[in-house]
């Protein structure tokens, strides 16, 4: 994105709050504006409203974010002023010279404290609670009839998404009064609508272009910075650009997770689970953005892969003086699988039963789909026991348990832990539609235009394969276009692992439509009936059924149609909408834990991830690999931490434990395909499965290694320090 050439563009640098919670008494830009061609703007120079919250039911509308902080800052990183300069270095110098007079306020960092409503971020709202979901009613008989009930807490710690490309945005006002915004984004079309809405423009006056984008992971949805860049281009009448530094990104790009989950799971001594209660306290950071809503997904997925007759769910989302929480790879679903998988293991430990066996006794059976859970999700298809058995076979479960027993008998310093996670997740979670268009080119190839976006997911390949297969074209003859709202009529973008199942399916349907149109044109040319024209997909030739000698290739058809000015007839668009799908799988992790130092080493991770039919197994496996790494990062390494005053302690790549290749093993991904009936491809989403499956497997493995020491839980991340603490507490 920074590679975009934009002649004469001014550089934007944001002056960000150094305090987590303070009133702004004064902003003095005199020294900054003394530098050559530097201009400084504050909220007083703006006439813009508030950004968000997103219009989700149940989210308090009074906790949106001013585009520039007005009078008060609510987290370290909140934007106080904008520096405009000719170049990056001058901008950085000038930002240092902007003098901000703060009147510090007490900061509230822990969601637990925030829920007490003693320090309020929005005094006019009167509470820190941004949203409540589920039912606050307790059924006193929920655990009635249970032999055993176990309780515990899982803190799904705050993570920084860390796409390798920091955010970047540029905008230019055209001579026709239209604005073009180039954004490092996942969602160009939605961005266009939000930009237009926030700036009071007709969407037709806004063009958004998503160039090659270096990763998103859910975090690169439109945010205040992009709105400000577009506003500045209009206000200044000059092209402007902004690229965040990594240290800026660590506090300014929304974070993920940050949920505290309390569980009680009850059942019988034979391992059968009867009831589950889940209570979520979601930290949504300083403003109510998407994070406030995410516990809804956690509640929806509470039942996991198990047939649990009775479930109670309740959540509160509270604002704190920290970076806002939004989507991050999994977004609400990892939390659900992390807590149910920990609860199942805790239950198994209480019964003294093998955790694999407890899972077997509670799976939703493979012949029970579609299945509606007690947490109100309608699962489309699945074979949970099949996935677990495949994973156990692949890892050599019985042999590993033998080795573990041996090490325990030897009282070895380095103990072996084996952790299981069986998960189900939801993709295309709010039943969206996606746009696809296919057009035959003059040389007899095809262009696929998709409203989905690709920032590393390889849609350029996968969607080309889908269209090529339907049209009988070599894949090299199909080009995928995305990301320019002037070229692509509409779109939702890429998030929630929904691209292939709706965007790919839309491309397939548009390709089928084009094929029908081509049959009509061929019928005209051959003086036959369209119903008699068939495609030979092996050679890409349309011919009369029963007589392959009478026909025409795509190249010849395109050439003739071009000459006749009829090529435009070979173009079709299609929107495809469908209900959510539910990918699932089983991961088994093997760890070694040094019981003296607490050091954890992940030795193996076997992952069975079933996302229905795979279009391109290489790309799908790549998604699984990356997903697993993020899941393991949460299990063992990463944690975004603040001190009590709300100062970030992990605000750079030096302090934040983003794992490198040296911290991780190779992955053992095992394919399994159970098609969904909900789209013609049979495909579900795969982008987040690895993340959702991996964290609980590794977490459970670490706890499993320490079971003989009386350890029943280790806080995430289960790193050396937390393991050492858990061992000490167990001894005490």
């Amino acid at each position: 994105m920074e590679n975009l050439a934009l002649e004469g563009a001014l550089t934007v640098t944001f002056v960000r709050s150094l305090f987590a919670h303070a009133n702004i008494v004064d902003v003095d830009a005199t020294a900054a504006e003394a530098l050559p061609n530097v201009q400084v703007l504050t909220a007083a120079d703006m006439d813009l409203g508030v950004f968000g919250p997103p219009p989700f039911p149940g989210v308090n509308p009074g906790m949106g974010r001013p585009l520039l902080a007005v009078d008060r800052v609510r987290f370290v990183g909140d934007i106080i002023a904008i520096v405009i300069s000719d170049d990056r270095a001058t901008g950085a110098d000038a930002a240092e010279l902007v003098s901000v007079d703060y009147d510090p306020l007490p900061a509230v960092v822990s969601p637990y404290e925030a829920a007490k409503d003693e320090v309020l971020l929005f005094p006019e709202v009167g509470t820190n609670v941004a949203a409540r979901f589920g039912s606050p009613e307790h059924d006193e008989k929920l655990f009635g009839g249970c032999d055993v009930a176990v309780s515990g807490t899982l803190v799904s710690q705050r993570m920084a998404p860390c796409p390798l490309e920091p955010r970047s945005a540029a905008a230019e006002l055209g001579p026709d009064g239209r604005i073009t915004a180039w954004l490092s984004t996942q969602t160009p079309h939605q961005d266009r609508m939000v930009l237009a809405g926030t700036l009071g423009l007709d969407p037709a006056q806004v063009r958004v272009v998503g160039p090659d984008v270096g990763g998103g992971f859910g975090a690169k949805m439109l945010n205040v910075e992009e709105v400000l860049v577009v506003w500045l281009a209009r206000r200044l009448g000059r092209p402007v650009r902004w690229t965040e530094t990594r240290s800026e990104s660590m506090v300014a790009l929304p974070h993920g997770r940050a949920a505290r989950l309390e569980f009680t799971l009850g059942g019988m001594r034979d391992g059968k689970v009867l009831a589950y209660r889940l209570e979520v306290l979601q930290d949504c950071g300083a403003y109510a953005v998407l994070g406030a809503f995410l516990p809804n997904l956690t509640g929806l997925m509470a039942s996991g892969v198990y047939a649990i007759p009775r479930i109670e769910f309740e959540s509160r989302s509270v604002v704190t003086n920290t970076t806002p929480i939004s989507a991050f790879r999994g977004a609400g679903r990892p939390e659900a699988s992390q807590v149910i998988e920990r609860a199942i293991d805790t239950f198994a430990a209480e019964l003294g039963m093998d955790p694999a066996e407890v899972r077997r006794r509670n799976f939703i059976p493979a012949d029970a789909f579609p299945h509606t859970t007690a947490s109100h999700a309608v699962y489309d298809s699945g074979d949970y026991e099949g996935a677990l058995e495949l994973a156990l076979r692949s890892v050599g479960y019985d042999e590993l348990r033998d080795e573990q027993r041996h090490r325990r008998e030897q009282a070895a310093t380095t103990q072996l832990g084996i952790g299981i996670s069986c998960y189900v997740e939801i993709t295309n979670g709010i039943a969206e539609s996606e746009f696809g268009e296919v057009e035959i080119t003059p040389d007899g190839g095809a262009i696929v235009r998709t409203g989905s976006f690709s920032h590393g997911q390889g849609h350029e390949t996968t969607f080309a394969m889908i269209a090529a297969e339907r049209l009988g074209l070599p894949v090299e003859k199909v080009t995928v276009h995305k990301g320019d709202t002037d070229e692509i009529a509409k779109g939702t973008g890429t998030y929630g692992s929904k691209s292939t199942q709706i965007g790919g399916a839309a491309a397939r349907l548009a390709a089928d439509d084009v094929l029908e149109l081509a049959k009509q044109l061929v019928a005209d040319y051959l003086e036959a009936s369209p119903a008699d024209i068939v495609l030979d997909p092996a050679v890409g030739r349309l011919h009369v059924a029963g007589d392959p000698s009478i026909g025409i290739s795509w190249a010849d058809l395109a050439s003739r149609a071009s000459a006749d000015e009829r090529l435009a007839e070979l173009k079709a668009e299609h929107e495809f909408q469908a209900a959510p799908t539910f990918p699932f799988g089983a991961h088994v992790a093997v760890v070694e834990v040094d019981t003296e130092t607490g050091r954890v080493e992940l030795r193996r991770l076997v992952a069975v991830d079933d996302a229905g039919t795979l279009i391109n197994p290489l790309i799908a496996e790549g998604q699984v690999h990356g997903g697993i790494a993020t899941g393991v990062a949460q299990a063992l390494y990463e944690n975004f931490v603040y001190d009590d005053d709300g100062n970030p302690l992990t605000g750079t790549f030096v302090g934040y434990a983003f794992p490198s290749s040296a911290d991780l093993p190779s992955w053992e991904a095992v394919e399994m395909e159970t098609p969904t009936p909900l789209n013609a491809l049979g495909a579900k989403g795969i982008g987040e499965s690895g993340t959702i499956g991996a964290t609980p497997a590794v977490h459970n493995a670490v706890v499993d290694a320490l079971t003989p020491f009386g350890v029943r839980n280790v806080d995430l991340p289960a790193n050396g320090e937390n393991v050492w603490r858990a061992l000490r507490e167990a001894k005490a």
Partner: protein
């Protein structure tokens, strides 16, 4: 401003640079070599890795003036016409990149690693590339690509 003279991807160049100018911004902004990316500001991620006199360095942590008199190779200097460098080819074939932002840095670091150790074990590869971060691939296929490049004698 300080005058520097260096060789970049085989071409001599002379330029005036501010003493505080970082090598990466000199390459990107003054020479227009946009293949070298910036992913952090703490010498942690390696997206900006280039070769200086054949050794991999993080160009965000070298001043342009320090490269005076040196031979610098960036990712743009690797391919011979349409033919990718064997390490680039291996990354392509092994699907060792997704968003691609970290890739130039990984390719340059790999070239340096294989020069020092033409036949590294998996552990040596993982340790050798510790200074480069990737959020997309989970490193699995990057390791495979380095192994493939080693087999190809890169």
């Amino acid at each position: 401003m300080t005058r520097i003279a260096l060789t970049v991807n085989g071409s001599r160049c002379e330029a005036d640079v501010e003493p505080r100018q970082l090598l990466v911004y000199f390459l990107r902004d003054q020479l227009g070599l946009k293949g070298t990316n910036v992913g952090c500001d703490t010498t942690s991620c390696g997206a900006c890795t280039v070769l200086v006199d054949g050794e991999s360095v993080k160009s965000c942590t070298v001043f342009a003036v320090q490269a005076d008199g040196c031979e610098v190779t960036t990712v743009e200097g690797l391919a011979q016409g349409d033919e990718l460098h064997p390490v680039q080819q291996a990354f392509h074939e092994q699907h060792a990149l997704q968003c691609g932002y970290c890739t130039p840095g990984f390719v340059m670091a790999t070239i340096s690693l294989l020069k020092e150790n033409p036949n590294p074990s998996e552990v040596e590869i993982r340790d050798g590339l510790e200074g480069n971060l990737c959020r997309c691939t989970g490193y699995h296929n990057i390791v495979k690509a380095v192994q493939a490049a080693a087999r190809a004698g890169a």
